[in-house]
Structures are given as structure tokens and as C-alpha cells.
Symmetry: C2
Amino acid sequence: MKLTFLGTSSGAPSRYRNVSALALQLPQQAGAWLFDCGEGTQHQIMRSALRVSQFDRIFISHMHGDHVFGLPGLLASRSLQAGMSTPLTLFGPPGLQEYIRRTMELTQTRPGYPMEVITVAPGLVWEDDRTQVFCTPVAHRIPAFAYAVVERDHAGHFNVEAAAALGIAPGPIYGRLKKGETVTLEDGRIIDGRTLTGPIRRGRRVVYAGDTTFTRNTVEIARGADVLIHEATYLEEDRALADRASHSTSLMAADAAKQAGVRTLILTHFSTRYEGEGGSRLAELLAEAQSIFPNTMLARDLWSYDVPVFGDEGVRG
Amino acid sequence: MKLTFLGTSSGAPSRYRNVSALALQLPQQAGAWLFDCGEGTQHQIMRSALRVSQFDRIFISHMHGDHVFGLPGLLASRSLQAGMSTPLTLFGPPGLQEYIRRTMELTQTRPGYPMEVITVAPGLVWEDDRTQVFCTPVAHRIPAFAYAVVERDHAGHFNVEAAAALGIAPGPIYGRLKKGETVTLEDGRIIDGRTLTGPIRRGRRVVYAGDTTFTRNTVEIARGADVLIHEATYLEEDRALADRASHSTSLMAADAAKQAGVRTLILTHFSTRYEGEGGSRLAELLAEAQSIFPNTMLARDLWSYDVPVFGDEGVRG
């Protein structure tokens, strides 16, 4: 699972950061998913190693402009790619469907690919045999959702050499043993599949909390997550601004990460006020979060982060 | 009158050019006008010497996405500027008003300044004591307009020294003489104001033809213009594509400039197909236009062009 931050500014673009968008690539899949799509997201994709044509699922956290104004242009440009016919599915809060429909109608934009807009409700949003997506309401000024992308647990590694050493010939029986079943061989021996497979490999869990103040729902959906991506619009000294706009300070984000027991917290959606002509104050914002949740990082535009597999960190350095 | 090209690509942004937008600054005015507003226009403004807060009038040629998808974000960001309360007026075809209203509603964007959307009809669109704006329908797949910005003619320079030498004391009488009136002095002398003022200075005329194929209406509105900004999406060899999409080839644009007798033609809105990995073919596109209208230039992103005052070119070099 690879994250690429395409926009990390709140409200408006700055000289350093674009408005919200986050790409996710799943292992062994050519497609890519997008979480939120502020204006200029297609431009950011052009500057990254990704391609607009790759995206086949888009998840919208909420309907504020800095999270959706890039959608119509992205949908139109995707249609201009030669031979583009891959279906696109959008998931989001009430209003998304009408926003897309009206905008496309009024600008006579007709995507040359099948497109579906799904209004999400708390719970399971989408799944296939490898991945599930859940959402939960968070606390913002308008309906807003956090999304969890959860890899299903993988069967452990099947020890082919050990099976061969036991004189078990390859065939459908390998599949049963791999699943951990107990199998009786033709010669009467009873083999417990679990003795031939390594431990189950836990799937990863990545949670993207769109705009929100601190809320129990975020803690619940992020419980035990590998990565929590949480907005941190403000420094704690601007707590009043955060409260007024239902945004988070970095301390609030860190508190959510700590209570959820996540492994890594990535902060994003920074107010433009902290990167003015006087230099950046984001180091302070990071330090504030790290004071209660040390494993915190700051997102920056076009930064990619490979989510480590549990237990692999040593290997990957 | 100063033009700044903010986007010169057709359809979709490329690595080299953003989608359509053009800024116009009038002499001795702090505000700025915008013609069309493709996605990422506010980002382009950030890269220029202009500011989002400066724009107080926006003219939209037609409702295709590559000309309007940057509007909602620009309107929202303008609202985030500290203390921004300058009114904004938008002019455009039917559909613009609903596009703005729906988008703002669905994303709960509430500009902190007065905003008005005016649906234009052929003829005079707007005027004050110095400038007039006219529009005319052009020929595209959906309703589309060309805009002409016309400076009113200025009174000639009033020769203060000559008036003083005649013994005329400064006062309201100067104003009357400046207007070319004939005035009777207290001592009985009759003075013809026209003898004290230089020739009338002709105002400039700048025409922006949004997406269009060749049309008589463009020729009419651009007649005698100082600058015609005309789309040239295609090379003549791709005439079939131009015809199919109601766009222009560079020859069609040059033909309009020639028939209208404009002084300068600036081409824009180039298909991304001509700036691929094999290098740019825009020199061919320019040469094609220059073969029938020599004084042609190619627009590029962030290029500014000062429209010369008639007769001043020698002075300005």
C-alpha cells in the first residue's frame, strides 16, 4: 500500500501546497484510488509518477470546495485519454451525486467511460476478495466521513518443501492444506495443514480522516491501524479557530492517534497561516503532536509513503 | 492595457500550459479583469504578478469545463483574503448563473463579498466613463461569445502653456476649452478650444474570441482592433478535427484577423497534441498563420503583453 500526498493545504492552495487530495495504490494492482480531489489535483497527478487514467475509485470525505473542486476537471481529462473506457466509481456524502450531475450537465461534459456515484453510509462501503473499505461519520461543519482501507488477512506462507518431504504430491490437496485444513492421505496418514503454513499475515489498515475535530468515531475506526492520516489545520495556540471551524489542532490529532493505538500518524491539511513570509511554523506543529504521539510525520505535496507490512520494518530499514 | 495569459491549452492542462484564462489590466486601475477561468487559474495567478483579490470582473466565453472549472475555487479563495469585501461581477452565457449558484450551494461556499452574475446578450455588456465592453455570439458547439474591450477616445492633450501665454487664468474655463468648446473671455476675445488641444487620442480595442470556428461575427467585432486574441486549436492539416469540434485552425484565425484588419493577432488555446515528447509543432502553427497574417504571435502561459497605444510603437521600440 503506497500513499502519495497530492495536496496538503487547508482551504486554499499556497505557494507550497495544493488543496486536499491523497492517492492510494494497492499491492499488485495497476489502478489507483483517490481520497478527496481539491482544485488542481489533476495538475498534481501530472507532476507525480501517477496518471489520471489510472484512477478507478474516488472517495470524497465531505463536500467543501477545497476537497471537491478538482473533480469535474479530473473526470473530463480522464475522458480525453485515448481509448479510456475503464469504469470509475465515486463514493461520497449526500450531495456528491448532484454536484457531479449538475456540473457535468451545465458544462456539457460527457465522460466516455461508465461512471457511478455512490452515496456512502456508515459501515462497509466496498469490498473485494483482498480489500475492504469502511467509513464512519466524523465531526465537521457539514456531513463528513473518515475512510478505512483494510487489507484482508493473508493465509500464511505454505511450505512446499516440507510437504514434498512428507511425500505429498502437488495437487488440489495443497490448496486445502494451505487453508489450514486437516487432511487424510491415501496411505492413512493424517496431516494438519497448520503445521505446513506460516502464521496468518495480518492485512494492513490505513485510515484517512477528512476534515474533522477530535471525535470518538475516528478513534474507533482507526483502532490498531497501521497509518492514521489526520488533519491538523492548526497549532494548539489557535485552538479557538479550530473549534470555531470544527477542525483539529495537532494535539487533537495526536490524541486520536494515541487513543486508537495506531502505529504511525501522518498529519496533513495545514493552515496557510503557518507558512508565510516569516518562514514555516510546521516544525512546531510536528513537535506539538510528537509530545504525546512520537511516531508522527508531516505530509508534504508529492511525498510518497509505503505502508510497512507488520514485522517487515527491520527488513525494510 | 496589459494582457497576462494564464492558460493557453485547449481541453486539458499539459505539462507546459494550463487551461484557458486571460487577465486584463486597464490603465490607472488597481483592479483586474479575467476572461475565462479554467481549473488551476488561481494557481496561475499565484505564479504571476497578479493577486486573486484584485479581480473584480470576470467574463466567461462559454460553459465548457476547461473555461469555467476554476471559477468556484477562485471565488472561494477570493473570500479567504483578509478583509475582502470588493464586489465581484461575473458576465457570461446562460447557465453560468446556475452553475455558480448550484456549486456554491452544494459545497456550502459563501463568498464574503457581494457577487452578481449577469447573463450577457449581444451588444453592450458593460461600460463606465472610460471603457466599454461588447459581446457577440461566435460559432462553437454550445452558446459562446467573443468580447471586445474598448477604451473610449480620450480628449487631446491641453496645452496649458499656450493658454497661459494667451493670458487665460486657470479655472473652470480650462475644462471647457479642453473639451474643444469655443469660449468668450471677459475681455471679449473669442477662443476656440480646439486650437489649444492636441488631436483626440483613439482608445484601444482588444477582442477576445473564446472557442470558435471562423465566423463573420468575430470579424465584425474585431474590425480595426489593436489586438485580436483568437483560438487556434489546430494546424490546418487537422482541419477535420477543427470542423468536427467547431474549433479553429491557425489559418482560420489568421483569416479572421486579416479580414478584420486588426493590428496584432495573438493565438492561444493550442491542442496538447502539438507539444508531445517529439518536441513542439507550434512553430509550424505560427508560420501557418503568418503566411496570411504576418503580425501574429503565440501566447504562452504567464506571458504579459502591453497593448501599444496607436502611434506609440516607435517610442516604445
